[in-house]
Symmetry: C2
Subunit: 180 residues, 2 copies
DNA sequence: ATAACCATGTAAATGGTTACATGATTAG
DNA sequence: CTAATCATGTAACCATTTACATGGTTAT
């Protein structure tokens, strides 16, 4: 599964432009489990167009640049379903914030504090984003997944708040006898 | 921050071979926030060696293949600290399981159930892994990060268990008027 | 016997990020 | 007047994954 499939998925919700799809990853319903930038979305849409998995209509707008709105074709939906029914790969996570907290004793205390607070904000903002989604009259999967995101973000924010002293109390240059 | 830095971090805990570093990502203390395979670890170690950020000693073993044990140099530790004191990039997550649950109404109900249960197992196993880590007499950052991982995994497993009916009740071919 | 574990590595391919390129409109 | 939003795209670069290559030992 790659960004092409995620674009097909996005279009299964409704017709959209590349710009609009990007927002689904940034602050929309995909924000907590996948991400993609323009540099991968636009090429993906062009490949999908070549393969007739989507169609494209250029729409002129008043006082806005024209936009290209993409729609899923029958072949596109078939392809998407087939991909969705495969065995999922393991989750891939990569958190530099956590790496830094893990090696907190190698950080300046100001940096350590900065990391921690930004990370709390990150989870709080994520919760707001998910709360603001309008999922009325949508399939249960979407509600379920939003709920999972909220549960995880809330648990993370709560843990960080409640245990922050543990991290901040690490002495900067204490020797733990590692690498001995 | 890339795998080179994570290898330096791993070696700041203690001398290790590429094989042993891999285990730190797989089932060790890094498992819930970063991952790497042999194909990235071995080349990373060789680059670090070229740059004198690590040294290498080949150790013969009885009835085991010889292993190359790497150690952090002073330059390596300096490099690691500098990297750790940068501004962290945003978290990157990529979960195919969640994608599939999000589009649950496009899945066969057996696949939907399979995804859900495997995902619960994944979090349970993750908890076991983190519980089994021996972090006695280690810097607080490592305890703190393990605790965060546990909090998040437990919250995820709990949510999935308690709300599974919401996901499983999605009708396979119901029409939600999307893409209209 | 068979699978899992120990142990290292490379080459090719994939896939994604970053920087670049452009430009009008609107809100503060 | 400045920043943000709307809107699309490419090219070069980078990092990582996958498949390949090898082979002995230990536990079931």
């Amino acid at each position: 599964m790659d960004i092409k499939s995620l674009c097909l998925g996005a279009l299964s919700i409704g017709d959209a432009s590349g710009y609009e799809i990007k927002k689904m990853f940034e602050e929309g319903p995909f924000s907590h489990f996948y991400d993609a930038g323009y540099g991968s979305i636009y090429p993906a849409l062009n490949k999908l167009l070549e393969d007739d998995l989507v169609t494209c209509t250029e729409i002129e707008q008043e006082s806005r640049p024209a936009k290209k709105v993409y729609s899923l074709t029958d072949a596109g939906l078939t392809y998407l379903k087939a991909d969705l029914n495969q065995k999922p790969a393991r989750d891939k996570t990569r958190s530099e914030s956590i790496v830094m907290m893990f090696f907190g004793h190698l950080l300046s205390s100001s940096h350590r504090e900065e990391i921690l607070h930004s990370y709390i904000d990150y989870f709080r903002d994520g919760c707001t984003c998910l709360d603001d989604l309008d999922l009325s009259n949508q399939p249960n999967g979407r509600l379920f997944v939003r709920g999972l995101g909220l549960a995880v973000y809330e648990a993370a924010a709560k843990y960080l708040e409640e245990n922050k002293d543990l991290l901040l109390s690490d002495d900067e240059e204490r020797d733990f006898g590692d690498a001995a």
